[in-house]
């Protein structure tokens, strides 16, 4: 296991905690009827986007899916803008045109996903292709769920990435459900890494609730991609500690599973690691958390101050020429 510096430890911890608390707050806003559309959160899955995206360089690119908020945050997207996007406000990155984490920011190296699951994967390949084309030593991190791997686009893209040896890391967030469908009903094999055998890409099964495990696996994969040795697939096994969306009670998930996975909570687990290895003290951790709490509150305040977009701008930006 990697030895964790104080700085890395507190960055990882604060990122995971920020994702957790921000999403928690957004859920509350949802219950208060303040969120415009649906809410999709990654509770329990924070280690995956945090442990991987933290290693990207400024010119690298991330392609997060809908439960990878830490990747957005680590690329520098201000938390208040996330909230503003959920609230449909003018200052969200989509200026109210799209909701939740359906957003991108080219200057931050964030490519927007779209609803069609796995559609982002071929697009992420194209970003990696551009690095190869320009002989740029950069990499792409592309995230997707277990459910997304049943889709044709995923297959086409995995194969394409392998054939072209693209500088990309495919991160499967296997939270064991696609909406109400357990992995056992999605495929006749056990793991996405089994599924990925057909591409000639190195695969690794990763404990997705162990942020350091994710960190190390991603580090290796990123290094490999950066050296021009091609893609890697990491299957990060975790659990969706929520309904599919904020309005879903997930009655189809056996209660025991939530209990079992609650014990593996990635934040508590990392806390414990940091304490045990004397990386951070309890006080340090509490400081991190109260900073996070303050950040969340100020994010919500600032987001709520952002006005709604003016309908007079409805048609701007459909085409470049009309801008």
């Amino acid at each position: 296991m990697a030895t964790v510096t104080r700085e890395l430890g507190s960055r990882l911890l604060s990122t995971m905690k920020l994702m957790r608390e921000l999403e928690h707050r957004i859920e509350n806003l949802y219950r208060q009827g303040k969120i415009v559309g649906g809410v999709f959160i990654g509770r329990g899955q924070e280690a995956i986007s945090a442990g991987s995206a933290i290693q990207t360089l400024p010119e690298d690119v991330v392609c997060p899916s809908h439960r990878d908020l830490a990747a957005f945050l680590l690329r520098g997207l201000p938390p208040w803008m996330v909230v503003a996007n959920y609230l449909g406000r003018k200052d969200g990155p989509t200026r109210g045109r799209d909701g939740n984490t359906h957003l991108g920011a080219l200057p931050l190296g964030i490519i927007s996903f779209i609803s069609s699951m796995a559609a982002i994967v071929p697009v992420a390949n194209g970003v990696a292709f551009s690095f190869q084309y320009r002989k740029q030593p950069n990499v792409v991190l592309c995230y997707f769920g277990d459910g997304a791997t049943s889709r044709g686009e995923w297959h086409e893209a995995m194969n394409f990435g392998a054939v072209f040896k693209l500088p990309i890391v495919y991160l499967c967030v296997n939270n064991q459900y696609a909406y109400s469908t357990p992995v056992s009903r999605q495929m006749a094999v056990e793991h996405i890494t089994d599924r990925a055998q057909g591409y000639g890409i190195p695969c690794q099964l990763v404990d997705g609730n162990d942020v350091l495990g994710v960190y190390e696996a991603a580090q290796k994969a990123i290094a490999r991609a950066r050296k021009g040795e091609g893609p890697t697939l990491l299957e990060c096994v975790t659990f969706r500690m929520s309904g599919h969306s904020a309005h879903d009670q997930a009655e189809y998930v056996p209660k025991e599973l939530f209990e079992k996975w609650q014990k593996k909570d990635p934040i508590l687990r990392f806390e414990k690691h940091l304490l045990e290895h004397n990386v951070l003290s309890r006080q340090d951790i509490d400081d991190v958390y109260s900073k996070v709490q303050a950040e969340v509150e100020s994010a919500v305040t600032r987001a709520e101050q952002s006005p709604y977009p003016d309908p007079s701008g409805l048609l701007e930006g459909v085409y470049a020429s009309a801008e």
Partner: protein
Amino acid sequence: MPVMTYIEAIRKGIWEEMERDDRVFMIGEDIGAHGGAFKLSAGMQEHFGPNRIVDTPLAENAFVGAAIGAALMGLRPIVEMQFADFISTCYDLIVNYAAKARYRWAAGVPIVIRGPSGGGVRGGPFHSNNPEIAFVHTPGLKVVVPATAYDAKGLIKAAIRDPDPVLYFEHKLLYRRIKEDVPAGDYVVPLGQARVARAGTDISVITYGAMVYVALEAAEKLAQEGDGVDVEVIDLRCLVPLDSEAVLASVRKTSRVILLHEDTRTAGFAGELAAQIASDAFDCLDAPVLRVTAPDCPVPYSPPLEDAFLPHASDVIAAVRRSMAY
């Protein structure tokens, strides 16, 4: 007659057809134990079993293709798209396989592909689309767009019994907002018959889906607001087959026409109607044919934007006044 919501009417129609004909089954994502994203099939898997309410992996081509193959063998599959928007991921199988099979090799494909379409629920660009036009344009497919609970039930039954591939686009805004008397037993609303939603003498508003209510609202307001304009509202119910007779009859009667749809403007269904009217009712028009539609942009998420995007009664009223003033 029981009072029923629009979604309940669809559900009942499917339920009754499944009781009636054991070739009928439903396939899609999360429709089993979970009962579907909109709970349309809640309890159906318990009743009909997992062989007839079939949960699938997240793979629209896989299950639409499976439905096509099963239909070729004489079964009667109903496919649920979790949102109608996702139909674009299995577009090829629908427009190239299902639509052309009968023409090419005399093989019928009696499938129904249904799902929630339309905006007004803050679904944003990927959960609010009206994807009908590409299918309307594809020979071999039929396209159904119910506006009332009565029609929703009668048309889903007609669609299930139809020997051709039918796309049945429900409007999700209507799911639980529309409630009305719906006969408990079996009845069918035949495909291809429009409905006069409101009879009128001065101007025709031709529309379908959720916009029927917008048209009716406009008509009522115009009646009340002293314009003295008596608006006829035609609810098309089906886009293919189209009841051109009903459209032309209304236009011949009123001599003025507004074409209204929620879908975006360019090359939307109003174009087809305009072409038929300009060709076949040219001599009885007293004013330009006007379109009221969403503008050419993706469906935005934020309330003020989506509100500006969607056609409203006020837009219809303005168009009616423009037409009447001509």
